[in-house]
Symmetry: C2
Subunit: 138 residues, 2 copies
């Protein structure tokens, strides 16, 4: 518990009870999580609070946002030392068509792409879809 408080403090986020719980939830879940997921888990909490908590986490580099093509924004904790905004740190995400879960493949960076003249890339998003390790093992 204390580590979470410290982690949040280090990122400039005031460690309120709610925020610690949300952080803990994200840490245990280990897959990309939507606002609605969190809402289900914390039925008492207000959607707005959860929404703003995630936005705060994102701004302060605690989580990064993931667009996995489902049309729902998801979030996952940043790895220690993760610099989401830097192009070389962009890892890819895998969305399982079977269990509908999305995971970060932090070891797999997005390869560099040679663009046509005039195009300047600042950011990239790569999502692979298919069957994940848990589902393919069945």
């Amino acid at each position: 518990m204390k580590e979470i408080e410290k982690k949040l403090n280090d990122n400039g986020v005031r460690p309120t009870a709610m925020r610690i719980l949300i952080y803990k939830y994200l840490a245990e879940k280990e897959v990309a999580t939507s606002l609605t997921d969190i809402e289900m888990a914390f039925a008492k909490a207000d959607r707005t609070t959860l929404f703003r908590t995630l936005k705060t986490f994102e701004k302060q580099g605690v989580v990064h946002q993931i667009d996995d093509g489902t049309g729902v924004q998801k979030y996952a904790l940043c790895e220690p030392g993760c610099n989401c905004e830097l192009e070389q740190d962009l890892h890819l995400h895998f969305h399982c068509n079977n269990c509908d879960e999305t995971v970060c493949l932090t070891e797999h960076k997005i390869p560099h792409i040679n663009l046509p003249e005039g195009f300047v890339a600042e950011d990239a998003n790569l999502v692979l879809k298919g069957i994940c390790d848990k589902c393919s093992g069945q």
Copy 2:
């Protein structure tokens, strides 16, 4: 005009007046187009009709859907000979943060990625964001 009719027929889409107009609009626009874009251009037409037309086009391989991370579904005409569903035909898309337009880079295929054991990729989506050729020239 006749070519469009033929093209639609060849793809198993009945070439109604509306559909020909929509096809023409997409062809002239040359960038990924949202339902709302089309709605603006055809103020008299009903949103549902446009929506269903796009879905029909998609199913019949006339257009492919693009998720450029803006949270809005977009569509673009398939190139002749494009097999959107095949993995080797997956090209990448470029979203300009300045003019907000998304273009297909049909020449640039998504590079093959080696996934961890147990992961089976069936589909992929790569979106680069930055400044496009038109905007960087200014």
